[in-house]
């Protein structure tokens, strides 16, 4: 190699090798700061699935939610007005406006707590959920967590107690855990949640097709609305505590009665 390029190539190669080597870990701690890693190794070594396995829109994807574990027989829909508490990560940005429209249509009240970049670990390690339960006294809780934990290694060992902690905080209140909208195969978060929640209290979103925002992760607004529509369609026959969710007009969104935003935990 010619001299002028040697230094540059060495620089690029050292950086690349370092980034790849470090990606063997979920994160690394440098002087108290937790640094993220690139995920290159897990991308290369993950089981091969081929391409184009997801091809159906959530709008018509009733069949795609069939993987969710069902209750053995349909439970009558609870037609009472509910005070719904929706908690979770940034996926709520798409879910909440559509759920608010459902709430308005069906006489429910919706309270939304969005905690950016949050995980089951973050919610499970603190009593934030209990605090909001005391504050809003919900009659129904919806949880949307897991998108930030799709690729955590050994997740069942690391996060099991946190998922259990969240469920303990929910206690006897009817709830539904909405699984993350996978953009790649997860390392077990869906399996972990499904294992812990009651039968008919978990909506598996994995396997659906979503139109993604430009970050490649979040569903677009319209796709998130269709996601919520799918949940509403799934509920009557599959959920262990279905509530009334008659569909508002197409594309309609609304505002929750109260929205609380929590910043990423650093």
């Amino acid at each position: 190699m010619r001299n002028g390029y040697t230094g540059l190539w060495t620089l690029l190669a050292i950086s690349f090798i370092t980034i790849v080597a470090v990606s063997a870990f979920d994160s690394i701690n440098v002087m108290g700061f937790e640094l993220k890693t690139s995920g290159i190794i897990s991308r290369i070594t993950e089981p091969y699935h081929g391409s184009g396995c997801q091809d159906e829109s959530v709008a018509v994807a009733d069949s795609m939610v069939a993987d969710t574990e069902k209750i053995s027989f349909p439970v009558p829909v609870d037609t009472a007005s509910q005070r719904i508490l929706l908690i979770g990560d940034s996926m709520l940005e798409g879910l909440s406006p559509r759920l608010a429209a459902y709430a308005k249509q069906n006489g429910h009240e919706l309270y939304t707590v969005i905690w950016y970049s949050s995980t089951s670990q973050i919610w499970g390690e603190c009593d934030t959920l209990s605090t909001f339960i005391r504050k809003f006294r919900p009659t129904y809780i919806m949880v949307s967590l897991g998108a930030n934990e799709l690729f955590v290694r050994d997740i069942e060992r690391k996060r099991d107690r946190h998922v259990k902690s969240i469920l303990e905080q929910i206690g006897e209140i009817p709830y539904l855990w909405i699984g993350p909208p996978n953009w790649k195969e997860d390392t077990g978060i869906n399996r972990l949640v499904e294992k812990n929640v009651a039968k008919g209290a978990f909506f598996l979103s994995d396997g659906m097709h979503f139109d993604r925002a430009r970050d490649g992760a979040h569903p677009t607004r319209s796709s998130a609305a269709e996601w919520l529509d799918s949940i509403a369609r799934w509920m009557p026959d599959n959920c262990n505590h279905p509530i009334r969710l008659l569909r508002p007009d197409n594309g309609v969104t609304s505002r929750a009665k109260r929205i609380i935003v929590l910043q990423p935990k650093k």
Binding site: G4, S15, T45, E46, M91, I259
Partner: protein, 490 residues
């Protein structure tokens, strides 16, 4: 760990994926560049080997982004080159003209079919209330850029400004040069081909200046633009869901996002080319420092505006046919420039309004030139220019006319400063990034030059640290964890 899976995953990564075009800030490009660089250094002085090697890499680069459409690029280049060779053998002006127009018609027909066919069909449908189905057309990546390059080549050969390449491979090298292939700058034959003929070594200084440009580009594109876009996208996705202040921030945010996105990618392209020993010229020169629209278009997407000037505005008559024709030529040039950006009326409107703005500026120039050169005059000129440019970006970005007007209406009818503090509190990082990019515009050019010179002259280990810090910053905002949307209002 299954080696079969690893092999298949790598193969899939290297294969064409319409959802994952190769971009310079991706890990895949980095890895491939690590393979490319030493081989390029080895064949650097063996001209034919170098040209062949770069062409093969460029075509693979295009294949990764556009699949088999790389054959279209090869075909276009073959037709252009053949017609250019025929042209120089002809003595009659008419024959040469036929060759030039033949090449232009072929290039524009291909562009027209892939980019504008559905647009015209849609408009036809609207006029005749027909029921045609849109054609199932995939737009090849970068076709608008290389079509303009191809036109500039054949026109320059016709005019005698450029000596046609002896070999088709040289021309294919020019047309498919991967740093500029998918998103510009639009390289001109009269500037680029002499560099290929009189090839000289890239100096160590140029190589590290190239690295510096790549770093600046990555910061602009992969850190700033990609991050601030998350908030801006929310505003444009749901214009009714936000207050006037938030809509204003979305509009200002998009103004900065499109600059960082586009100029960042250009910086990376120019940097990679410089590492290879080729100069592509400046494509952005702090356009948001402009104090009038004419200056803005001299500093924004320079390769496009100079192309439009030389191959459209001047052939239309430029300013040589009276005041009215000058305005009309300017307007038409900007109209076509708008349409070049995309097949939709919003782009036509955006271009037309820039044309109107330029005409107004030209008309007012005698009066404006008499104004005293006080700082307050400069500040007002800058503010008026920025407001006009930012306002037009709303139309450029919004999905529909209705959304554009909703955002503008929100800004003017639902504005409250009560939103300022909560906004800053909740969207801290977004505000910091905006402040950094606006602040960097406020700095004198010589400071930017001084920083780049410092980097080039710094010890190797410092360069390594700077590079790794930037890469880690990208990872912090782009890894598998969902980068947070900054805030929302339902």
């Amino acid at each position: 760990m299954d080696w079969n899976d690893i092999g298949r995953n790598i193969f899939e990564l290297l294969n064409y994926d319409s959802n994952a075009p190769m971009i310079f800030s991706s890990g895949l490009f980095w890895a491939l560049f690590l393979v490319f660089l030493p081989m390029y250094a080895l064949v650097r002085n063996r001209r034919w080997q170098m040209v062949l090697f770069v062409v093969v890499f460029s075509l693979y680069f295009y294949y990764k982004s556009s699949g088999w459409f790389f054959l279209l690029l090869v075909g276009t280049s073959l037709i252009d080159w053949a017609l250019s060779r025929v042209m120089i053998r002809l003595t009659s002006r008419r024959g040469r003209l036929w060759c030039m127009w033949g090449s232009i018609v072929v290039s524009l027909s291909v562009l027209g079919y892939f980019k504008y066919a559905n647009f015209f069909l849609w408009n036809w449908n609207q006029m005749v209330e027909g029921n045609f189905q849109p054609l199932d057309i995939i737009l090849p990546v970068g076709i608008s850029f290389y079509t303009f390059q191809s036109i500039s080549y054949i026109v320059d050969v016709y005019r005698g400004d450029v000596r046609p390449t002896e070999s088709w491979l040289d021309y294919l090298f020019f047309l498919s040069f991967f740093p500029a292939l998918v998103a510009g700058p639009i390289v001109r034959a009269d500037y680029f081909l002499p560099q290929l003929r009189d090839k000289r070594e890239a100096t160590v200084g140029e190589i590290y200046m190239g690295l510096w440009l790549i770093i600046v580009g990555v910061v602009k594109k992969a850190i700033v633009a990609d991050y601030i876009s998350q908030y801006n996208d929310l505003i444009f996705a749901s214009p009714t869901g936000y207050s006037g202040f938030e809509s204003l921030m979305g509009a200002v945010g998009y103004t900065m996002q499109i600059y960082c996105d586009f100029s960042g990618y250009s910086d990376m392209a120019i940097g990679i080319a410089l590492i290879m020993g080729f100069r592509l010229g400046k494509n952005f020169d702090f356009p948001y420092k402009s104090r009038n629209l004419t200056q803005f278009w001299r500093q924004w997407h320079i390769s496009l505006s100079s192309w439009l000037r030389d191959y459209l505005y001047i052939p239309l008559g430029g300013n040589r046919k009276g005041v009215v024709r000058t305005y009309v030529n300017n307007f038409l040039t900007m109209l076509i420039g708008g349409l070049w950006h995309g097949a939709a009326w919003k782009f036509v409107f955006w271009g037309a309004m820039h044309g109107v703005g330029l005409a107004v500026h030209k008309a007012c120039r005698p009066w404006l030139d008499r104004l005293p050169r006080w700082w307050i005059v400069s500040a007002v000129s800058w503010a008026v220019t920025m407001i006009y440019v930012s306002l037009l970006w709303i139309f450029f970005r919004a999905d529909s006319w209705c959304d554009s007007w909703l955002i503008i209406r929100n800004i003017f009818t639902d504005f409250s400063i009560a939103y300022v503090m909560p906004f800053v509190e909740v969207r801290g990082l977004w505000c910091v990034m905006m402040a950094v990019i606006i602040g960097s515009h406020a700095l004198p050019r010589r400071w930017h030059d001084a920083v780049s010179q410092w980097f080039v002259g710094s010890p190797w280990i410092v360069k390594l640290i700077v590079f790794m810090v930037v890469v880690q910053a990208v990872i912090e905002l782009m890894t598998e964890e969902v980068a947070p949307f900054i805030y929302f209002q339902f």
